[in-house]
């Protein structure tokens, strides 16, 4: 039997599992499917924008968190000290290096770095894969944005034009798609896997060498190899004599897949069993009656009878409304899918949204979630933990709007690590 069952295989679940296994616990992860790491840009956004200055990217996120907390004292970041958040991020960076997908940040430590988005906007993030860092918009070299004719989901002219408009000089160029693949149709992951091939890599490097001008840096869609990625990046920079960077694409996100695969492999080597395809459909708990109850087991659907998943402790890391931690019906009722924990989300559809799709204040439906105490235990109306052996982390936590704040991954890393520290301490 496991000491800890983590439900969910997103960034918060994996960080929690990593922290717990390092603390000596026997850890199992059960997930309905693979999650949000495959959709995002592969960056670790800690805090990108605040409601008070919605047009201005946050410069120093860890410092700015203090004013965020003043505005929003119940924000999940408020459960941690600044030093603690910084420690969890340092844990992530060290881990990323250990598992071969190194992350880094701005040249000036503590700053956000502005990177080109796939729409050619300047996107603030705190940590990015090494392959994205030469896109740092504070650097002065003009950019050559290279796409592939016929590749869906990446438009170099759009990116170059928008970047130039923002004051970051860039021009676009196209290469033929058949330079990198013989397939009729490919998604980004398949293109990246194709570029693990050495000959294909050499062809691309030679073609880039012909079109790059001295002093330029080269931006490419994030498909520069899957397993051979780090080698390939070095090859390209050497062959073109120019800095090379990746720009995230529409999903599936190759940078996210690289991180997930390396992280999962590392956890497996540490003895963590991760099983996807397990959808938890029921729970067995002792009834809370003034005092906290306990989770005895959860059950997942199988081809026949439910499978009991037992553990001493349980950590819920199923994500928010996109990750699958919540579900809703047409009338506006929103519920937490596994334990039916109380949510701060409005239960009337009319109360879900503020006026305006891109309202700088965000929308109540995205800000709501599971309330936890300082030890990351879900709490009820009386602020007491509902179950003595249940913890929660990540984007299902109440009082943050990760997409609005650009804090999705920062919240996942910080609360994933901290919740696991709380439960293993």
């Amino acid at each position: 039997m496991s000491d800890l069952l983590v439900i969910g295989a997103g960034l918060s679940g994996l960080m929690a599992a990593y922290t717990a296994v390092k603390a000596g616990m026997r850890v199992t992860i059960a997930a309905k499917g693979l999650g949000s790491m495959h959709w995002g840009a592969g960056t670790i956004d800690v805090l990108g924008y605040t409601a008070t200055q919605p047009e201005l990217p946050v410069k120093r996120p860890l410092e700015q968190i203090q004013s965020l907390i003043q505005q929003n004292p119940q924000h999940p970041y408020a459960l941690l000290t600044n030093e603690h958040i910084a420690q969890t991020l340092a844990t992530f960076v060290a881990l990323s290096k250990d598992i071969g997908v190194p992350y880094g940040g701005a040249t000036n430590p503590g700053d956000n770095v502005l990177l080109p988005s796939p729409a050619g906007a300047a996107r603030p993030t705190y940590l990015a894969p090494k392959a994205q860092l030469a896109g740092d918009l504070s650097r002065s070299e003009p950019m050559l944005i290279v796409g592939f004719e016929g590749m869906r989901d990446f438009y170099p002219e759009l990116i170059a034009e928008n970047l130039t408009h923002l004051g970051y000089p860039a021009r676009a160029a196209f290469l033929p798609l058949k330079l990198i693949t013989n397939r009729r149709d490919s998604n980004t992951v398949q293109l990246a896997q194709g570029l693990d091939n050495k000959e294909q890599r050499a062809l691309l490097a030679a073609a880039l060498r012909k079109i790059v001008r001295p002093g330029e840096r080269i931006g490419l869609p994030a498909i520069l190899g899957m397993d051979a990625h780090i080698t390939f990046l070095a090859e390209l920079e050497r062959e073109t004599n120019s800095p090379v960077f990746e720009i995230p694409t529409l999903p599936p996100s190759v940078p996210g897949v690289r991180l997930y695969k390396a992280f999962r492999g590392h956890l497996q080597s540490l003895g963590v069993r991760l099983t996807a395809g397990l959808e938890v459909i029921s729970t067995q708990t002792t009834a809370p009656n003034g005092v906290p109850g306990a989770v005895q087991w959860v059950e997942s659907a199988t081809s026949a009878r439910p499978l009991k998943l037992r553990a001493d402790k349980f950590l819920l890391a199923t994500g928010g409304i996109l990750g699958g931690g919540f579900n809703s019906d047409v009338n506006g009722r929103v519920w937490e899918t596994i334990f039916n924990l109380p949510l701060t989300i409005p239960q009337e559809r009319a109360d879900w949204f503020n006026p305006g799709f891109l309202n700088p204040q965000g929308h109540p439906v995205f800000k709501g979630g599971v309330k936890v105490n300082a030890s990351f235990q879900p709490i009820g109306a009386n602020d007491q933990p509902l179950y003595a052996n249940l913890w929660a982390a990540g984007n299902l936590l109440a009082h943050s709007d990760g997409i609005q704040e650009r804090s999705v991954e920062g919240t996942a890393v910080a609360t994933g690590v901290a919740a696991a520290q709380a439960l293993s301490g």
Partner: protein, 420 residues
Amino acid sequence: MHTKSWHSVGPSLDECIKCNICTSYCPVAAVTDLFPGPKYVGPQAQRFRENGQPQTPDHSVDYCSGCRVCNEVCPTGVKIAELNARARAQIVSEKGIPLRNRLLGRNEMLGKLGHIVPGLANFGLHNSFSRVMAEKVMGIARQAPLPHWSTDGSFGDWFKKTQAQRLKSDKKVVYYHGCATMYYEPFIGKATVAVFEHNGYEVLVPPQNCCGLPMLSNGEFGAAADYHQNNINKLLVYAQAGLDIVGTSTSCTLTLKEEAPELLDMDSDNAKAITNATWDIFEWLRERHELGELKTDFRQMNMVLPYHAPCQYRAHRVGKPAMDIMALIPGIDIRESHARCCGIAGTYGYKKEKYQIAMDVGAELFDFVADQGGDVEMTACDSETCRWQLEHGTDLPSRHPVEILAAAYGLYDLEKRQLL
């Protein structure tokens, strides 16, 4: 709160958020662009497959191997593989089924025929002239790892012959052996009976039919429904008596439990009784172990054993119970494969146009085995066609985990594949 999954096959497509995770993990789309990927042929094309549609919009769905990696990784629970299986059945009902696929679907009939004079049947099938002809005339790949009929009798023959020696006990279990154990690999059945009896169970082997899976995967839903109904008729009395029906072929047990009733919309109480009574052998053994009932008087087994859980376990959604149990054996060094699929996918890799795809898919697994070093003498996998493919791709013998377990109990010779 949900007490059961709210998804059923058809409506589940509305859960698709177009994230493409399925296509990114699909082992078939990774090696050929004849298959554009689960998202396109599944939830995407499904919107154009309404009833009464004169023609199916997409024939590339035939290149889906049914490995269900897509179902496993889907974050929202779309039953992609099942959508694809139904789409294939729609194509078969429109265009008819090739003789080859009809033949490959008829495991039980082929087993029975070959069993009459197995030596001759083996010679007839396995000489190189026949294989070339079978490829030219029917499209069965000449290199594909087809099985050999057992030349020392079927499992049924042995079970009948040894009736007097069989354990009698109050604890009884029904054994669903499947066609491969019956006609090709009776030693799997013998090892299984030995493991059951060692744990104090009397083994009942009632008459039974092919589970129908080969027909389901080749789109012959009508014939598959007949087979499933026959099995319900033959096994129901045991299910109603509260006996467990335990199988050693992960694909047969999956079909009895879920694939047949779900794909064929057979949701009678009788079908449900069969679902609830059926267990895969290691799922059942793990349950015994959790209840403290499994004997663990194992011998030391000094071996490095690469183990590949077959795709059907992914669909069973019970984790990897064979690993859980084999891990109890002292001395055994199990190397867990994380390869997505061996490629064979039932009868998929037997087909001429799919043979190379199957080998390319399996390369991930073959490379994993090769990486485990020179101490490896055999591999293990629960599913028969996967074992044959593993042997074909690695040149190493492959064993069912129940053979490993029987050997660990000191009841079975792993090399000769016979009871001691």
